[in-house]
Symmetry: D2
Subunit: 338 residues, 4 copies
Amino acid sequence: MIAVIRQSATTDQLDHFVAWVEAKGLKTNVSQGEDETIVGLIGDVSRIDPFLLESMDIVERVQRVSEPFKKANRKFHPEDTVIECRGVKIGGGNFQVMAGPCSVEGKNLIEIARACQKAGATMIRGGAFKPRTSPYSNQGMGERGLDLLVEVRKELGMPIVTEIMDARDIELFVDREIDVMQVGARNMQNFTLLKELGRTDTPILLKRGMAATIDEWLMSAEYIMSEGNDKVMLCERGIRTFETRTRNTFDLNAIPVLHHLTHLPIVADPSHATGYTRYVAPMALAATAAGADALEIEVHDDPSNAWSDGGQALTPSMFADTMRRVGLIRDAVTQEVR
Amino acid sequence: MIAVIRQSATTDQLDHFVAWVEAKGLKTNVSQGEDETIVGLIGDVSRIDPFLLESMDIVERVQRVSEPFKKANRKFHPEDTVIECRGVKIGGGNFQVMAGPCSVEGKNLIEIARACQKAGATMIRGGAFKPRTSPYSNQGMGERGLDLLVEVRKELGMPIVTEIMDARDIELFVDREIDVMQVGARNMQNFTLLKELGRTDTPILLKRGMAATIDEWLMSAEYIMSEGNDKVMLCERGIRTFETRTRNTFDLNAIPVLHHLTHLPIVADPSHATGYTRYVAPMALAATAAGADALEIEVHDDPSNAWSDGGQALTPSMFADTMRRVGLIRDAVTQEVR
Amino acid sequence: MIAVIRQSATTDQLDHFVAWVEAKGLKTNVSQGEDETIVGLIGDVSRIDPFLLESMDIVERVQRVSEPFKKANRKFHPEDTVIECRGVKIGGGNFQVMAGPCSVEGKNLIEIARACQKAGATMIRGGAFKPRTSPYSNQGMGERGLDLLVEVRKELGMPIVTEIMDARDIELFVDREIDVMQVGARNMQNFTLLKELGRTDTPILLKRGMAATIDEWLMSAEYIMSEGNDKVMLCERGIRTFETRTRNTFDLNAIPVLHHLTHLPIVADPSHATGYTRYVAPMALAATAAGADALEIEVHDDPSNAWSDGGQALTPSMFADTMRRVGLIRDAVTQEVR
Amino acid sequence: MIAVIRQSATTDQLDHFVAWVEAKGLKTNVSQGEDETIVGLIGDVSRIDPFLLESMDIVERVQRVSEPFKKANRKFHPEDTVIECRGVKIGGGNFQVMAGPCSVEGKNLIEIARACQKAGATMIRGGAFKPRTSPYSNQGMGERGLDLLVEVRKELGMPIVTEIMDARDIELFVDREIDVMQVGARNMQNFTLLKELGRTDTPILLKRGMAATIDEWLMSAEYIMSEGNDKVMLCERGIRTFETRTRNTFDLNAIPVLHHLTHLPIVADPSHATGYTRYVAPMALAATAAGADALEIEVHDDPSNAWSDGGQALTPSMFADTMRRVGLIRDAVTQEVR
């Protein structure tokens, strides 16, 4: 961490500042410039709040120089992490597609899942516990929904992905050997939940919060990893901006940025990121071209009667068409070009 | 809810659409314009997802016309709600100031609280359970922190406000008769937590999420109220924007907007909304002038050694100065002007 | 346009409102619902300010139902517009790549342009008039820069694209038969400039403003078109959000949304949209996969000594590599999948 | 400027980097930390593009330490600037209110202005040249509007404020001795216009762009000042965020932040910042409490027939009421509190 000291600071003030920093167990490196003096803070800077420094009278600006995420940081772990879910690998060159309905609704799940598998999906998604903006909306099937997913897995032999909203439900998920537990955008900074997921051995799909910076998102991954669970996938699903023609703004820049900063696999969700069926296919292609390790796509056999998010679901036939195109893009991305 | 139908829609398509809506138990009102046909959807529209409608081929645009929040809506409850916390009233003309340290740290709490009380604060705040962006930061004193707050309350006779992060802790809070349970910005859409708080009888201070619209925020209040707890205060604490000179952007517009839309009391937190000690006082005045029913301000006797957020804390003497100015503004706001 | 009337409105108030609307030359269609009354405003609603309606006491909400852009609207012009620049076609299935340095700097222009052409670029870009955030930064070569571009065009036979910042310079551009005049993000709502460009016959590349909604952007295209110049291309170059790991947030969703709303060709600029050389290639691929009709990419032979934006420039060899990958993606996008 | 060098950089790479910086005429100060090496760049860093540095392989992060604005910077000009407009002073403790219609429409101007003056306004505002999102909206009276403003000034003896959109119109404004030339939000980075305004001697009211950071806004002030015109006022009028319940988000934090960073006077415009008549008064009070040096408020005698922005205009009687309240707040702000 670097603190830029105001020109107006006296030598006494600077000495006092240096002493204060050193009392926190850090070393300092003072470098006098023409216009400013710069104090480098060396050691475990996680003990220092940069906002506190910036509020000090003699401090002009503060710059963090090392990232606060460690276990998620590619610097300390240069190799891509490959996560294996019941034999299906994600990351490090392995590309997968998770598909299925927004909500698990009942018997149609197996039909939808079968159609997804036929079209090339390698994992099945479906929500049993549903976070809904309105208390008056359907809140999901709960435990019974998990059981339906397990039946589908048994029948089709595909790993299943489903959202967990409450630490008290972890046992329900672990008992059923749910293959991937998804943390939704609204819970990205539910630190209690993250810590407890970190004590399980199940792969976690961590969605980006609607206003989360990439750094905060990686810190949330760090919460899980710091408790011992290294199997974290990051899922870009759109951020909130001023644009209202789409439900969210799909930040595809995040894909190459994350590949630069972290070794964890990156998933992209064009369904939530656009909010409209008609934009899902082109954005699935774009995410694949940008280098996503996996896609998560909502598919429903009867979108206009879906319990939730029918407006962004593909029908099985649209999904099959999209998968063919995704395959072509994936081939183009992985082809040698010289 | 209104659906605008594309000009290109055939009569058959329109009839099919109307039949589909009516099958959901709603009535329709079709109105043919020169350029567009408008279908009004009448009845319980919470059963219809507007994104689903918009994704239909013949639908151009959808507009919700009634707000989805009911219990929080001023239309159905025109009188201001007044919330009483151990004899201290907020809302409906009653103005209060909650002050204290970001984190409860130990013995200094009583000294800080005493200074706040002397300066005019009427409620004491302090965090025992701390949501921190980094897993490596101090996570708060937990239960022992609650006990320290209870001791302060006993000694000074002031109600206490403290954050709850996990539904499993509710018992700890209720057993100690915590006067106000605060829900942090990151948990504003932790629906599990909201529902369980709705089953208590304790006043709730609901902070706005960093990317939450005013409507979503009111829907989160609705989650609490729909379970039976009507004592909800809304706290504006800044939203996330592109501006980086302050920690957040203080959306003071939200104060008169909320007074227009809801009967619930509005609290403003200039400490988090700015992030810098030097901006807290002017923004406390601005929030008071905009019509806030209460302020929440961080005060620490030794900010440079605070466990958290020292960079935005006022010292007791700065707080006393701010309180004098807030008092003058409050007098100006409530004075008759004719 | 639709106005939703409050339940509390009296019949007199409603009658008064309807009379006021009709006095503006519009017709009305009143439809009484259970909870609300809806007034449809029929006719030339461009005479009515929706914010004015919303501020009226009896009006709850206002919804515009027809888009305010007409000439740019796909509804009234279903076929893709194809723009021809000195024989090179953009749109309607024709895909092009514009490449070259951020600033025209002198003799190296021809070398860079030659390398771009060899790698497959079909148009040359370069800035002669440069909008710079700081008055102390290099402001471009001006007229001499235009001449250098013209020389390059003569030598290589490729159309040239360059930015215009001031209506008084139009003559300089028209005299030299500049093939495409680019309007920068900061001038997207410089309505004076837009109108005068609308009176020329030169194709215009209209960049999206940093905080412009898609609708506002189309209204700016409409400004140009309403004066008679239909040759407008829209260029997505990133919007401003809270994310700071990239210079801007590349809103690739805008590509399919624009294809839905307008018949105009869509260009994507991954250089400005990311701000970092290392992210340009993946985002060029993503934009191509999302359906862009053209790319605009910055290339420099010696980025670390470029006058401007060297941090986002590709070297000629990186550009050649990117072009090979873009070609593969373009093939995948246009391939029949059944 | 500081460059943080990656741990992985070799000594050769570092030496090469240092040589490159020094070849640009800067000095360097290399400081080896445990985890990172930091290179301080000393001298005229405006020659270096921070994005270019960050794109270099061995560079981890770059931090600007001195602000790029010089003439606008309080560091180099600690005293408040006081701007005098025909005898009316703004800044340095002088508080003013500019009021009048959005658009100059004709004869009603004098009536509105007289009512504003009676209520306490000290300057008259009105738009003759109007930037409108739609080419089909009324574009203002132009030159004739300026003449009407001049007549009002003659009659009432008050300075006048009006918007300039095109550098070619400067003569029209200067010939009429317009007292304050306003630059609208959409032109905040119309650098051509800014530079030419910098060559006049007329006070400039520079509105903040909808997506402009405070630093960019100050750089635009710098554009004007660098050409010799020091009389710049900065006007906060709301920024664009995701919130749609108001037209813009009023960033009142900007007021104390600007007072910290610059010596220039700060104006606040609650009319555009909210967009709705009903929120103007509370936000005018809030801006005054936050420390604004002036307010700009839209007043119209018949808002429902105003040419533009009637939805955010106060009637003369609402304005008179607001002025009384503003006066009380201003008294409270300037009162000694000890």
